[in-house]
Symmetry: C2
Subunit: 585 residues, 2 copies
């Protein structure tokens, strides 16, 4: 028995008890003839104290992060620390044992550390001792338990699906695993258990979930991980709203038990079309307004060449920014011209405090027209209208990016304010110019909307492009946290889908044959959703970086700098796998 109590639990009521604590040396202080040790464990910090000269000498030998055991008596502190749960008491040290010494850590184990990113990644086990990271992982633990509690209570069964599966890439690249027993062949690690969970529906399990690791071998953008965790769910005998209602319930449960936020009203549901039109994004941040307005009808065809040659003219109204200087506006113009935003320029209309209108297109438009435009934006005195023009789809996205930027600049994106949203009716298909074919926006098993069935079976590319799907995303504060769809359960529709995607029958059979075959034996109508658990945790933690919510993350090269994976394997194993590396440095 190394301890009778943790470092977080002793209170005034324990005064007089003899206790044994064990933990890490957080800090040592000396004052006159007294020594104080802050002993830390996961549960808190307790102060141990001595005024005995011999004991003082022992304390002097301790260093930061030594693991020690303190035996002593609990007593009331003279100067209490109301910031600490254990701040009313201290331990009078009777015996002090060093359980394990520590070399000096490469950075301080404090809430704000002096270690750089790379150093903290390499010594991740030390970084995780710091409260911010520790608390992130505790939050994640609590969220996982609550997700399961809710889904279990709603008759979902947690069923484990295999990690070594058949490679059926259609979208991202699979990680593969060579099979020694089946030489020349490979398993794939699942990008998601999509096909398996659909088979579980065919098997009649009705409601399935799993909190499960998924894998994607993509070039890593910032804050993406090659392995990530999904809350993966599927339900049978459901239509879209049945799925949304169920998982809106889950989200409300999570908001309430984890964040103490009650949502009495239903979450907003917005079509993909409206999301693009009003927010220039398929994942609108609803914490602030600044909606996109279409002013094409007002400004096109009026003799201003830039607008006249544009499919679309639109903008946003930034509140209270009419005072922006020439310099600020130039900087913003440069900002939108960056390839990440891709605009050709930025046009402004200022509604000044005195009601006057000033604009970079004063020369081309009468004050009346500009005033009408300002009216369309419901611009108040002091507001700044920023406009772009061009191809509609592209300009909407650029404006959406600008909107988010202005939200950031005006501090309208409070990480502790939560605005959930369902975006529905995504397009079924996306055209790829390079390969000259459609790709499934979601995946090839997503059902086309009932209302667009005629277009879907038209065998006409233009009509096919207009088909919307029975799909949905759960969006929180401008981030897609979850996405899913009603699946195709009708063999005839699935066959047409493969045809639209340009798969030959042989190709479809080779990749998805087992699933197509399964659907012949009485597949129920079904649909589901998957939530990105890492991102979900980060959002609930009020933070941006998913890496801080993962115990042992990888860097942007897919490398774990702590254990230095990946690494070479020995020749024997390469031979057993019938593999040869063709890489030469």
């Amino acid at each position: 028995m190394y301890r009778t109590h943790t470092c977080g639990e002793l209170r005034l009521a324990d005064a007089g008890r003899t206790v044994t604590l064990a933990g890490w040396v957080q800090r040592i202080r000396k004052m006159g003839g007294m020594s104080f040790i802050d002993v830390r464990d996961r549960y808190g910090i307790t102060q141990a104290v001595t005024d005995d000269p011999e004991m003082n000498a022992e304390v002097a030998k301790l260093g930061r992060e030594f693991v020690i055991q303190v035996i002593g008596t609990v007593r009331e502190r003279e100067s209490k620390n109301p910031k600490m749960d254990t701040g009313d008491i201290e331990i009078r040290i009777e015996k002090l044992n060093v359980i394990n010494p520590s070399v000096t850590p490469p950075f301080t184990i404090e809430d704000v550390s002096d270690g750089g990113d790379d150093l903290r990644m390499k010594y991740r086990y030390l970084d995780l001792r710091r409260n911010p990271l520790k608390n992130n992982l505790i939050l994640r633990h609590r969220m996982a338990q609550e997700v399961r509690r809710y889904l279990d209570a709603h008759d979902f069964l947690e069923i484990e699906t295999p990690f070594l599966i058949r490679s059926t890439p259609e979208g991202a690249r699979d990680f593969v695993v060579p099979s020694r027993m089946n030489p020349g062949e490979f398993y794939a690690l699942p990008q998601s258990p999509q096909q398996q969970k659909q088979l579980l529906m065919v098997a009649g399990f009705d409601r399935y979930f799993q909190i499960v690791k998924c894998f994607r071998d993509e070039d890593l953008r910032a804050d993406r991980q090659p392995e990530f965790t999904q809350i993966d769910c599927e339900m049978s005998f459901v239509e879209r709203d049945d799925v949304l209602d169920m998982f809106e319930g889950l989200m409300k449960h999570m908001f309430e038990v984890i964040l103490n936020e009650k949502f009495e009203e239903p979450f907003l549901r917005m079509s993909w079309n409206d999301a693009m039109k009003f927010y220039g994004s398929d994942k609108p941040d609803m914490r602030f307004g600044m909606l996109l307005r279409d002013v094409t009808d007002l400004l096109k065809g009026k003799g201003f060449g830039v607008f006249d040659s544009s499919e679309y003219v639109g903008g946003i109204c930034v509140p209270g920014c009419a005072g922006y200087s020439r310099k600020q506006l130039d900087e913003l113009t440069d900002w939108v011209k960056r390839p990440q935003v891709g605009a050709k320029g930025l046009i402004y209309i200022k509604v000044e405090e005195d009601g006057n209108i000033k604009s970079s297109i004063d020369k081309y438009f009468s004050p009346e027209i500009l005033r009408e435009v300002a009216g369309r934006f419901e611009a108040d005195k002091g507001d700044l209208i920023l406009m772009m023009s061009g191809i509609r789809a592209k300009t909407l996205v650029s404006l959406g990016t600008l909107r988010i930027e202005m939200g950031n600049r005006l501090n309208l994106r409070d990480p502790h304010k939560y605005c959930p949203l369902w975006v529905v009716d995504f397009p079924l298909l996306e055209w790829d110019d390079e390969t000259q074919r459609f790709y499934a926006t979601h995946h090839p098993f997503t059902a086309p909307s009932q209302k667009d069935m005629e277009k879907f079976f038209s065998n006409d590319k233009e009509q096919e492009a207009e088909v919307s799907s029975d799909s949905y995303d759960f969006v929180l504060n401008g981030t897609e946290v979850g996405g899913g769809s009603i699946r195709i359960h009708d063999a005839r529709i699935q066959e047409q889908m493969f045809k639209v995607l340009g798969f030959s029958r042989e190709d479809a059979d080779y990749r998805f044959g087992f699933l197509i075959n399964a659907f012949k034996y009485g597949a129920p109508p079904h649909g589901g959703i998957a939530f990105g658990f890492d991102r979900f945790c980060a959002l609930f933690g009020g933070q941006d970086t998913i890496r801080d919510f993962i115990a042992f993350p990888k860097n942007n090269m897919g490398r774990d700098t702590m254990d230095d994976a990946p690494a070479k394997i020995d020749d024997v194993q390469m031979k057993e796998l019938y593999l040869k590396s063709t890489y030469e440095k």
Copy 2:
């Protein structure tokens, strides 16, 4: 909305309600002018009925496993079926919709199916529709929730560890994953999160758990899977008994909530030495007695050559089998001579009903000695003593195997009787003749027993071989369900361990450097355990085969016959991975 109720919930109190059910056609019967459909879903079966001629015609078009929707009125049945939860009612069909037809399934979806193993594996999604498999997975779901509930309530944090880690094989072979971004290098899939969970202890998380997939690329014996699930746990500031007490609590909780079995008494704890001595096994089945007895002192050196040249003579006493015929004994002798048992022969002593003693070694020993032997076995009238001799360690194991066989033959191994046991104090090291070195019995991080520290540091192979370890197995009904140990947290002991295992400093550093390094920064004393979740579920389900408790298992060639994984990947991907297959058919 496809249904108002499931097929398992309607009762007499619902009579008169109009309901909509959806599910699979289990069975159709016709009687006079009436048709009956058993509609099945995960929750049960409900009978739907019609006497309408038109509706009868519609019903006649249905086939087994069609997915249908039935709208109708609940009414009391005339002839109730007390075996079914819904047996008091039936649905008078008002409307019948075929949601999805089914081709004829390749085997019957009944509790006992007519499908062979291979066929049922290929059509796993149909096999899973059968009650026995469905109920296994529901049991597994419940067990997973309860394990987490208990551990969460005891302050364990569920922390996900990475699946793409560094390969550090020491024991079984790793599955590896080529890294595209780091050409020529590989990740390994974890055989267990051993090092990661120890790092979490170094990080101060104090109590960790995870229900997690692990991977081992071994030639598959019957009922082994290349991917399997562990309940993986680790605790800080603990000694052996702290760990055993905690997980004995978990097991008692599981027995109570899942099986309604209360264990008031502590589980038995037995040393590895005693387990081998009395049961000839490190995982004794405690459901029956038939303990091994050592009679070397009574029978060796008495002039019978076979015994005189043996290190050990021992046996078991099989109750009530003195009547075994010559033929039965010969068959048993052949059985023990099989290479799987490896005995050279079998000697018997019968204590007949009249008290007379008959033995295959009558010629060599006096009735007095044989009677003394029978006394040592506490043999009653009618009992049969079976004996073997040879090298002690080997003979104990052969006798242990025979004991289990006799337990099977006498039906003493009731799968619904549960006898849990802790086996403790395993040897730290196992000598391997082939490579002429020690291997860690458990793993290289297991702490040697405190009492054997002198031998451990002796640098003398004979003394090292005698060192026992602070390890433990949880054994249920002759099966190892869990195993773990107190880990080394002292750098000096870890260094010696690597030395004993014959690792050079460079080798140890290359493989485990990150862990050795981490231990310099204040590693707390810690220990843990991992339970084989698949096996645990099977035992709680009263069954032998773990495959029946896994949704999508693989066969003995590591192949999923349903999706036909593993498979070839295309040349583009091979090139991206800088890999070439050297395999030629």
